[in-house]
Symmetry: none
Subunit: 208 residues, 4 copies
DNA sequence: TATGAATGAGGCTTCATTCAT
DNA sequence: TATGAATGAAGCCTCATTCAT
């Protein structure tokens, strides 16, 4: 559904193959978080995946493909985070929790990682393929936000007009992504301060 | 005082030496923006600086030192940007203009670059030296914001209480850094949309 | 007698085994023609043979053995080509046709291929085993030629003396092998030009 | 004059640079003769050139470029050999001597090597760049031969008609290239046999 | 018999860094 | 001060070969 441009030639992977791919991606994610996309070597990844470097090439054509796979995976997670956020009963608290997770050296693949997010964003500036994936993810995030903001209140939305929802979702995305930056730059920020700061701002941005 | 942790052994540089350093840093900045910290090679930098690769080592002990110098330089620029923002008569318009600059492949050293900013932030996650420089820069930015927000209105400030200014400056920093992320991820965003979105949000965050 | 130096330990191959070997050699030939001995990979060959890479090792101890087998096979084919040539009613036309076949990316295993022939000849320079196989094949070719040239006219031969037939068969071999070189270097040569050139030279070399 | 398609960007190489290139090419030639184009590694070449592998890349962009340079150099040598042949007073003896040189593991760069010649010819079958270089060289060789054969006898030529010279130069090229094949396949052939064989054939091919 | 996953060695290439000039 | 040649380590990737299944 969110996989694009590669539906061709995708042979149905065996269970083993899928597991290996997963193993590699998990190892890659760890390494990328730890060293960055460029500084992480295939040898690092192979070691983390507990396999030989050569074997990785049975499952991915090259390092770029792994980077891209991680990026796409991260964007999907980002989208899920956004969805969870807009579905939460307490938006402010949800943001605080997101920040808390982002500011930790991620132990779990199923979570966005701030450093990865920032590096990906920077990479979008240079690599057209990354830019495209990002563009796609952004569109979905925006659509998610706008849908939520424009939905009638009785359906769990905010009941904004279409025009307003567009502007406001931009502001929200900025806030969220700004929090990701904060998570990388100041991971030990006092959560209560953050909670207080958001609590007196977010409700107003939503309510009207 | 703004240069920290390296006041020792810093021999007084000759004019020539300072110019050469400047030349190298300027070249490095270009290259880092274009390729990223890791992908940019010393040869790239040397070429951009129109000097031999070997000569660079007379002014910097290694590539890391250049990266660090650029990062420190960028943080200073960031601080200046923040100062300019808080001194501007039209905060919203100033933000829009900042975004417009960030989203361009920087032509001018004296401006922050979004990709560099994000990569630096990610690097802070991994390199303690970078983290420290970032921490320092962040403190100054916060102080700047808080001073502005807490200053009486008749002195060009906003007249907030100390506690409120602390919370609000965090929100502002998030917004600004969120804009930097936007600049990298969606450099062709419609400026009017952004202007509209900010115009109906920022004033309220400032006024009270 | 035509298989040399390996009559020992050669267990009687089952029918299946022989077919598999044939299948592998056919695939290898295709790949070697297409990529060359070194650039063709076992994976290439396995794919062309429609079997797994591992299975190949049940029939050949290693890649070198396949190369050698192909070389030996090619030399046998070369010998057959020579025989056909000396048995043909129109020697010149037979040469032209041989050239035409050599200059095509071989569709048929049962034909010599110019690129393979040249690569094999070069390899003889380096690998003693190849050199030996070549030497053997050469001896047979010469013998074939000499027998034909020395045989009385009434028995389909040319009726040369033993000494002359030795010298002349050397010249013929040069011409033929030179044509193989031409086939590789100038595969689109005009056949009529070639026919004309040979027609006014070959008869005289044969007749006396 | 015989360098084609690369007149652009060719900065005037320093003396040192030229010597290094020469050194590398000489080493490469040795290695290619010894191992073949594909089997010779950059490490082999570096060792033979007594320099680090990395340094080679200061003078050649990649291995292919070295292969191509050697091929072009060989074709030039081939052309010179042809010229020398057509200028020699005793064509037959010149051929015998050429054979004698080709059949030795070449100690001198300034000589064609049979194995290299054959491998190059085979490679022309697969690599368009090589094919082009070969094509070019072939054209020149033919032109050389034809010019000689068509030139009046009083100017040292043979005085053939244009049409005949075309056909006959094809035959000569076949003979010469056939000798190169012989040199690779049977380097210890008896030179007297060869001399005798050629002596009774070549004069007739030239005289009329 | 057959597969194809797995490895390890080795190949090509890049690059930060040093050093003779 | 300045060059740029030179190195060595490391990076990415391929491939012949082995082996558990």
């Amino acid at each position: 559904m969110s996989k694009h441009e590669k539906s061709i030639e995708e042979a149905p992977l065996s269970r083993r193959a899928r597991e290996q791919r997963e193993r590699i991606l998990s190892a890659a994610q760890q390494c990328f978080v730890k060293y960055g996309f460029h500084a992480a070597s295939m040898a690092n990844i192979a070691e983390a995946a507990e396999m030989s470097a050569g074997l990785i090439y049975r499952y991915f054509p090259n390092k770029s493909a792994i980077v891209l796979a991680i990026i796409e995976q991260q964007t999907e997670i980002e989208l899920e985070d956004i969805r969870a956020l807009s579905a939460s009963t307490d938006f402010t608290e949800a943001l605080v929790e997101a920040f808390a997770i982002w500011s930790k050296p991620t132990p779990d693949m199923r979570m966005m990682n701030a450093a990865l997010f920032l590096e990906t964003s920077a990479e979008a500036t240079r690599d057209p393929q990354v830019a495209e994936a990002i563009q796609h993810a952004d569109d979905l995030c925006f659509a998610e936000f706008r849908a939520w903001l424009a939905r009638p209140r009785e359906q769990g939305g905010v009941g904004m007009t279409a025009a307003l929802s567009e502007r406001r979702s931009l502001v929200f995305l900025c806030m969220i992504e700004g929090l990701a930056v904060r998570a990388a730059r100041d991971p030990s920020m006092d959560l209560d301060l953050l909670r207080g700061a958001l609590a007196e701002v977010m409700p107003r941005l939503i309510e009207e």
